[in-house]
């Protein structure tokens, strides 16, 4: 039944949190049109819909951790700090000596890219063309 279905992963405040991170990881997303932005969200939600709840919780926690780290280091949420500071903060997770942070970053980075390069409508822009099936 529809009312019992869990909310999509990217909904409510999670959209703002995730998109701020996505903009830093894959700058092409900053130039998204309204349609491209919706498609990105839809693709990510579709893929996460098939993931187990534990993976989704881990992802939520990791996104929260980025905000906490931002608050500790800069007294502001991640989406409120400058791009330079955002890049520097994410780099700490990307290159962390603690492997669990690197793995969390990899998962998040992969999702961010999925929202951009998973859009077939953007493939023309990067020159990816499939041969036509005769």
């Amino acid at each position: 039944m529809k009312q019992n279905q869990p909310a999509p992963f990217l909904s409510g405040k999670m959209i703002l949190r995730f998109e701020a991170i996505q903009n830093c990881l894959v700058p092409r997303s900053k130039a998204f049109t309204h349609q491209e932005r919706s498609r990105s969200k839809k693709l990510i939600n579709q893929v996460l819909q098939n993931q187990d709840e534990t993976s989704k919780k881990k992802l939520s926690l990791f996104i929260l951790l980025i905000d906490i780290a931002s608050l500790v280091l800069h007294a502001k949420l991640f989406r409120q700090i400058s791009q330079t500071k955002q890049t520097s903060l994410l780099a700490k997770f990307f290159d962390s000596p603690v492997s669990i942070f690197r793995k969390g970053f990899w998962g998040l980075n992969t999702l961010a890219r999925l929202g951009v390069y998973g859009q077939k409508e953007l493939h023309d822009e990067i020159g990816y063309h499939q041969r036509r099936n005769p």
Binding site: C24, S99, K120, R131
Partner: protein, 523 residues
């Protein structure tokens, strides 16, 4: 075609009974082969079923869209992760299994691998005629050079200039239009997987294919399974209606692959029914590299993979192959983030790609287990030896692509995102183990092997050399899980050869047990 009629009326709680003589679980390289090999028994009245977890894929419904097809064909959309979350596994479901999504690369098992297996009865003398049979059956051939794209040509040219070994793969296609999207299934059924070659023959002979059938466990000589009726498949995300079945069989052959066959055995007999169940998993961990050329490479046009190099197999335990991946799959292989990633991807038509496969050793701790829900989990440690092979493979790929004319490249294991042509003589310093970090580099595997290794002793193996599970009179395994260690090459042909051998053993067992010795008729 013979399709079983699934009664959609009973409630999900009702257990229905189906009766067969031989039931094959899984329809990939192993199951499809076994089904075809045994199918002539149907003419003698033997009832054979081929159960498949996924659906029948319809070629005409393949739109070649990366994400949609990944979700359709692969387990976890191609993103199944190991428990340590530093490697992604690609294995497929649906009638035809992973043979739907391979690139058709056809290799014979090398003698070095057979010797390492060291299983009495398993020799090249036995396997070679079987491999030859499937080479012919699947139309394996060398692609005409005129159809080979620049991405592949440059791989070959790079190797030749360096004086390295390079050779062409045989590919098993017929009527291929070079669409280049083999890993997303083929809309033309040009690739000769089991869904195209072996299973249609098996169906013609009377084997019943039952798709959308999840095997929960084996109970004596019965299989407990749930089947989702076909009419619910289009709405599977909202309607999970399924029905329970008890499928009776005289012989059961598990061919659900290196992840799911051990999982079914553990769900059926417990995690410790055999000391090595699920153990000694190998997978050819792989890493993709890309380099930008000043002129177009256009790797998307034509068959994606044509050449390989064994130059470093003996010295550093890795195989290099040419390859081409789709935008998202490719993007996740780039280590780092920010504008450099976007910029590199925007040069897509100019990118040459290679893949390095590490020939990993079989270790007891690399294994399949099941969680509380009975779902398979993969435990795999990318140890220092593998990491060291990767670093050497990245350097070798970089050298190859610079030699082939690349301007710059991206190399995992380097602290800088790009390495430029003028730095080509500093690869040893720029690509190091210090900068190769698990969790950063995107490591993947599509060659899952082991978990039900063959052998003589029940203490050290799960089956005998004929795939018969130790201690079980009517239970067999016929898939990549039989491999005692890695095949050192793309494994499908070896799986078919072993499945052919298992089918021979099952036939002999079945006929000797269920034939009236005086009249020669089946009991």
């Amino acid at each position: 075609m013979s399709h079983i009629q699934i009664d959609s009326r009973p409630s999900p709680q009702t257990e229905q009974i189906l009766q067969f003589d031989i039931v094959i679980v899984g329809s990939g390289a192993g199951g499809g082969t076994v089904a075809k090999e045994l199918s002539d028994l149907c003419k003698r009245g033997v009832k054979i079923a081929l159960l498949e977890l996924g659906p029948h894929h319809v070629a005409a419904e393949n739109n070649r869209e990366e994400l949609a097809m990944a979700q359709r064909y692969y387990f976890s959309g191609g993103g199944f992760q190991t428990t340590t979350q530093d490697m992604t596994l690609a294995f497929a479901k649906g009638v035809g299994g992973s043979t739907n999504v391979y690139t058709g690369v056809t290799f014979k098992l090398p003698e070095t691998a057979v010797k390492k297996w060291n299983v009495p009865g398993i020799s090249l003398d036995d396997l070679d005629p079987r491999m030859e049979k499937y080479l012919q059956e699947n139309g394996a051939h060398f692609e005409d050079e005129a159809n080979i794209n620049q991405n592949n040509q440059r791989f070959k040219a790079g190797c030749e200039k360096l004086g390295w070994h390079v050779d062409q793969f045989a590919i098993n296609t017929r009527n291929c239009a070079g669409l280049g999207t083999c890993n997303l299934g083929c809309p033309r059924s040009a690739k000769q997987g089991t869904a195209v070659v072996q299973i249609p023959k098996a169906e013609q002979n009377g084997v019943q294919v039952i798709p959308n059938c999840r095997v929960e466990r084996i109970d004596g000589n019965d299989i407990l399974a749930t089947i989702t009726p076909q009419e619910n498949i289009s709405a599977i995300s909202t309607d999970q209606t399924h029905h329970s079945y008890r499928i009776k069989a005289k012989k059961i052959i598990l061919c659900a692959g290196a992840v799911n066959t051990p999982a079914i055995l553990m769900r059926s007999f417990g995690k410790t029914f055999n000391p090595v169940i699920g153990r000694y998993l190998t997978c050819h961990p792989a890493l993709i590299m890309a380099a930008e050329h000043p002129d177009k490479v256009d790797g998307t046009q034509g068959p994606p993979k044509n050449y390989y190099s064994e130059q470093f197999v003996k010295s550093d335990r890795f195989l290099l192959e040419s390859c081409m991946y789709f935008p998202f799959s490719f993007s996740r292989n780039l280590v780092g983030f920010g504008t450099q990633v976007d910029e590199f991807i925007s040069r897509y038509p100019y990118l040459q790609m290679t893949i390095a496969l590490v020939l990993d050793d079989a270790h007891h701790e690399n294994r399949i287990s099941i969680n509380k829900q009975g779902e398979a989990q993969v435990h795999y440690k990318l140890d220092k030896k593998i990491q060291s092979s990767f670093v050497k493979a990245i350097r070798a790929s970089a050298k190859l692509m610079f030699t082939a004319g690349a301007n710059r490249l991206h190399a995992p294991g380097s602290k800088q995102f790009f390495i430029h042509q003028h730095e080509a003589d500093q690869l040893e310093q720029l690509i190091t183990e210090k900068y190769f970090k698990l969790g950063q580099a995107s490591i993947a595997s599509a060659h899952l092997m082991g978990g039900c290794k063959m052998g003589e002793s029940p203490k050290h193996s799960v089956t005998n050399s004929w795939g018969k599970v130790h201690g079980q009179a009517n239970l067999y395994v016929a898939d990549g899980s039989l491999f005692p260690s890695c095949s050192e090459v793309n494994p499908y042909l070896t799986i078919m050869a072993l499945a052919d051998r298992v089918a021979e053993g099952v036939r002999n067992d079945f006929l000797s047990k269920f034939t009236d010795q005086r009249t020669g008729t089946l009991l």
